[in-house]
Amino acid sequence: MNSAKLDHAPPPAVAAPETRAAPRGRARRLWARGTAPYAFLSPTMILIFVLMIIPIAMVVSYSFKDNVIVQQNSVFVGFANYTKVLTDPDFLAALKNTFVFITVSTVAHLILGLGFALMLNTPLLGNVTKAIFRIIYILPWLFTVAVIAVIWRLMLDPSGVVNYLLTTLGGSSVDWLSDPGKALWALTFINIWAGFPFFMISILAGLQGIPGDLYEAASVDGASPIRQFWNVTIPQLRPVLISMAVLDLIWTSQQFALIWMTTGGGPLNVTEMLSTYTYKQAFSSYEFATASAAAVIVLLLTMVLAVFYVRLQKER
């Protein structure tokens, strides 16, 4: 084989004009150039195929069967599980709650993240002061969700510290997590607290990437700080804001442990989300088929967001 010989040959110059290369060498280079990106992507592709595509395929196949897992001989039932899930009022309620939960969380993350990032980016304060605040602001990001659930349960307990402060200040105590009218909002608040730091840091990074001369030009034109914000900051941040918002919608829709460990979907199902619904179907009702059907529906819904995100990326 001539490959042994070739090993001793000087490495071919990739960027050399192609006309000068021998036809065979050129073919080889083209082959190398053609396969190289796949080689670079292969570790990622193998990992994602084995640990993601296969399990997804398994979930999809479960969703078309009856009594899957719990009985040895499960049968193909077509879309029966999907009909069952889509006509289940609990599922529809979960869909609605999830929608409220993720949109409110994301909007709040956006507003808080932007507000905090703008303040942390101010030229008015010294670097040390800002660094200290930056560290305080990322604190919620440092804790695992189990602890976030526990600390908030502790504080929002009917006789916890929040109600103590409230009653001392003359208010009346509130059952934050067990009042059906308030639980979803309390839970959303906890999620806002837990999730804003990454948003904030990304926006802060975005702010620091806005060229200073844009602001200079704007202030030469006599634009007020508020005008500068709307005419320079927001348009410049737009890509960051949109892609963070889409990612946040996706990530928040996946939130499970926080809900499970604070309200478990209660009271009166007002905090039941798609994730807790699926979990209950599988681990409590042992209805793996309907759980899988619900999972596939959730997957399709989040895919819509993902497709939107891919579109955004392509636009740029």
Binding site: A32, S42, G266, L268
Partner: protein, 425 residues
């Protein structure tokens, strides 16, 4: 040809990443070269016992059976359950598993746990010493090792402060005591009712217990739901009357069992139905709490035997285990007269072996009181062995929550719950 070599390198790395551990993992059937066998034993008991005491028992077992080693897989109750469900789904349950009565039916139906009747027969085991066996269609799948009863815990100081001199024995007396305790003010309430739906055990321990204490039942003789009978109705109406009287600690709709214990321990709640296993815990966290245990109050005028709710540490053997005979040896060991008594004493529970006598000498006097209550009544837990037991509790819980928030009448709640249950049972 450096570039190609590097490309190959990339592919090799990729393959490596993809297969790491496929080679190094491998399946292990627990048998080693010297003929000794290692049993895996998943349970949530070790963390609840005095540190190291369960390991010590396992060491004793290996001393008696030198060629059987035991590897304990311990976790909290909820995650043990999740792991067993996943394990059952993929036929990889550990050889020996700790079971709750509420899980047995589903695991048995999946074929995940083995028929213990057959194992007992093979081992010539004397079944008569077992206090109870959990059977599905005539075959035993779980043997309760230790039973925990749930009496009424009362805070003596709070009762005295409220001016209640006679411990409540009927529902009316209990409501009255609860009102008086609540009237002492502050954040103190008479009773706690954990109804969190993530782990809906409150329906079993804190709601249906009232029914069983008055000799009632929620099932017909042939195991069909019977939630619309007069006794269930009076129980739910009673719980509602406690709720309407505002004697229940706030936050009950998402309260968890841990919160209930916490509130009793800190004196925020005067009375709770709770596991005897918690005596040590409560004393550890609040040594000055002056409390006692009582039978759960019954309907006024009820004179029959009182059912007392219980939970068990049950044991089962995985159907996929390659060492079922050895696994049953471990079951026998834990059920033996002496060891069963020892474990019960450690756990503050009552033995699953009839002949075993727990050692009261070093344990709390309340334990003796509870044992007397237990012997005067009968153990009652109709959820044990039911299919999808947790789901049944949850659907009942959701309906009950509607009643307690005034969105639904008691009758509607019961007929809807009856409907839900009928589709499962």
């Amino acid at each position: 040809m450096t570039r190609r070599r590097h490309l190959l390198g990339v592919i090799a790395v990729a393959a490596l990443v993809g297969t790491t551990g496929v080679a190094c993992g491998g399946s292990d059937d627990g048998a080693s070269a010297d003929g000794s066998v290692t049993l895996e034993f998943a349970q949530w008991w070790a963390p609840e016992l005095p540190a190291g005491s369960f390991d010590k028992l396992m060491t004793e077992f290996t001393a008696q059976n030198p060629n059987i080693k035991v590897k304990l897989l311990s976790g909290p109750y909820a995650s043990t359950k999740q792991q067993l469900v996943s394990g059952a789904a993929s036929k990889t349950l550990p050889d020996v598993v700790g079971l709750d009565g509420a899980w047995v039916n589903d695991f048995a139906k999946q074929g995940a746990i083995a028929d213990l009747s057959a194992l007992m027969k093979d081992a010539n085991y004397d079944e008569s010493q077992l206090a109870s066996q959990i059977q599905i269609q005539g075959k035993t799948y779980m043997i309760p090792i230790v039973n925990f009863v749930y009496p009424m815990f009362v805070n003596n100081d709070l009762l005295a402060k409220a001016g209640v001199t006679k411990p409540p024995s009927t529902r009316t007396e209990f409501l009255d005591a609860a009102k008086k305790i609540t009237a002492t003010g502050g954040n103190v309430k008479g009773w706690a009712l954990p109804l969190d739906t993530a782990v809906p055990n409150g329906i079993q321990n804190d709601v249906m217990s009232w029914l069983w204490a008055s000799g009632g039942t929620m099932l017909t003789k042939d195991g069909k739901p019977d939630l619309t009978n007069a006794q269930v109705k009076s129980t739910i109406e009673y719980v509602k009357s406690l709720n309407d009287a505002s004697v229940i600690a706030p936050g009950s709709l998402t309260m968890k069992e841990q919160d209930k214990v916490e509130k009793f321990t800190t004196g925020q709640v005067g009375m709770v139905i709770d596991s005897l296993a918690h005596i040590n815990l409560i004393k550890k966290n609040n040594p000055s709490l002056n409390f006692t245990v009582l039978p759960i109050p019954a309907e006024d005028g009820y004179t029959g035997k009182r059912g007392i709710p219980y939970a068990s540490w049950g044991i089962g053997v995985a159907d996929s285990s390659k060492h079922k005979a050895e696994a049953f040896k471990l079951v026998e060991f834990l059920m033996s007269k002496e060891k069963n008594a020892e474990l019960s004493t450690l756990a503050n529970g009552f033995p699953g072996n009839k002949t075993a006598v727990p050692d009261f000498s070093n344990s709390d006097p309340l334990f003796k009181t509870a044992f007397d209550i237990y012997q005067a009544g009968y153990p009652a837990n109709e959820f044990v062995g039911l299919p999808k037991a947790e789901d049944l509790m949850r659907s009942f819980d959701e309906q009950l929550q509607l009643t307690l928030t005034g969105k639904q009448s008691v009758d509607d709640t019961l007929s809807k719950a009856q409907e839900d249950w009928a589709s499962v049972l």
